[in-house]
Symmetry: C2
Subunit: 198 residues, 2 copies
């Protein structure tokens, strides 16, 4: 920011610009917005961020974010403990919970295998997953339909199947509300291949 912008304002903007998807221009807009807020609201905002970071850690069972020792899903006795849905990140758990219809447990890997970026099996919560599989009957691979997501699902499948556990993968197909003409080739051929009787 220019030298005629006050320093604390420039520093706040710099901090906002570090957030993902927020460029310098948006960061400045946010910093200006902060200056127009009542002082106590700014404090509540700042505290909520620090509190979230301080009190939230990984569930010792599924590795999802929680402020307790065991998260609300893992400690819910109504949940089906024989199915584990394996996802890349905590965001994916929220997505499934929002969508509803799934009543099993989760396991968050906190990443996907990506040897190019130096992310190997040791960097993911795979050890923690394997140690949970005692009474589990099915593991659903719900990683993203990308190269890394597929590779991770394949790798885990090869690791878990020999333990006598069923390993499944999310269905490929057309997204709801989409139009055939805009579907890419892979999606379309997968949707055809996996067609269901009606």
């Amino acid at each position: 920011m220019s030298e005629h912008v006050s320093m604390p304002l420039a520093l706040a903007a710099e901090q906002f610009a570090k957030l993902p998807g927020i460029g310098m221009k948006t960061a400045q807009r946010l910093a200006y917005y902060i200056l127009n807020l009542p002082e106590n609201e700014v404090k509540v905002f700042a505290e909520s961020i620090v509190k979230a970071r301080e009190s939230v850690h990984l569930c010792s069972c599924c590795q999802n974010f929680t402020e307790r020792d065991i998260c609300s899903v893992c400690s819910d006795n109504e949940r089906d403990r024989s199915v584990i849905c394996v996802v890349e990140s905590p965001k994916d758990v929220s997505a499934f919970e929002r969508a509803g219809g799934y009543n099993g447990l989760y396991h968050v890997l906190h990443g996907l295998l990506s040897p190019m970026d130096g992310i190997t099996a040791e960097n993911l919560k795979i050890k923690e997953l394997i140690s949970r599989l005692g009474d589990v009957k099915e593991v659903i691979m719900a990683t993203n339909p990308t190269v890394e997501g597929e590779a991770t699902a394949m790798y885990l499948g090869r690791l878990i199947k020999p333990m006598g556990i069923k390993v499944t993968r999310l269905a490929y197909g057309l997204p709801a509300g989409s139009a055939l003409e805009f579907a890419d080739d892979v999606t379309l051929s997968k949707a055809l291949e996996n067609r269901n009787e009606i």
Copy 2:
């Protein structure tokens, strides 16, 4: 957010969602990002926001944001004190300073006249502007080229001109680097009307 998302995380996301231009989905992404940052970085971020709000106030002369009593522009003796550029918000001052080429002073109105939204002359820093006009020879109206911006410029012009001070308005015209075919009718006719000899 769903009940299975930890509370502090949901609260942080809610705070982010209050920022302008940030919807619930982006807010959640930012909250998750915060959880992955080192704890001290989160504290630096939170403190920079609170500090900006606490230490920055309005310059007692031009009403721009500053952490001093008089801002760096107003206290700069190299500046031409006979010209005042009137803008809507502190962001506009930054824009002019970034662009360079202007060596006068500024005055920030902190809004535009908008009777529909209940914003009248009393809500803007107009009194403060009038009281500064002692030795001023020219007032440049640099409000946005919108209905409210025009109305505010007209209103102030009618107030200031009788004091024997020259009142000017920013030029309408084609933005640099743009294409004629995409210019709207008003811009194009104004550009034609205000054509200059070369």
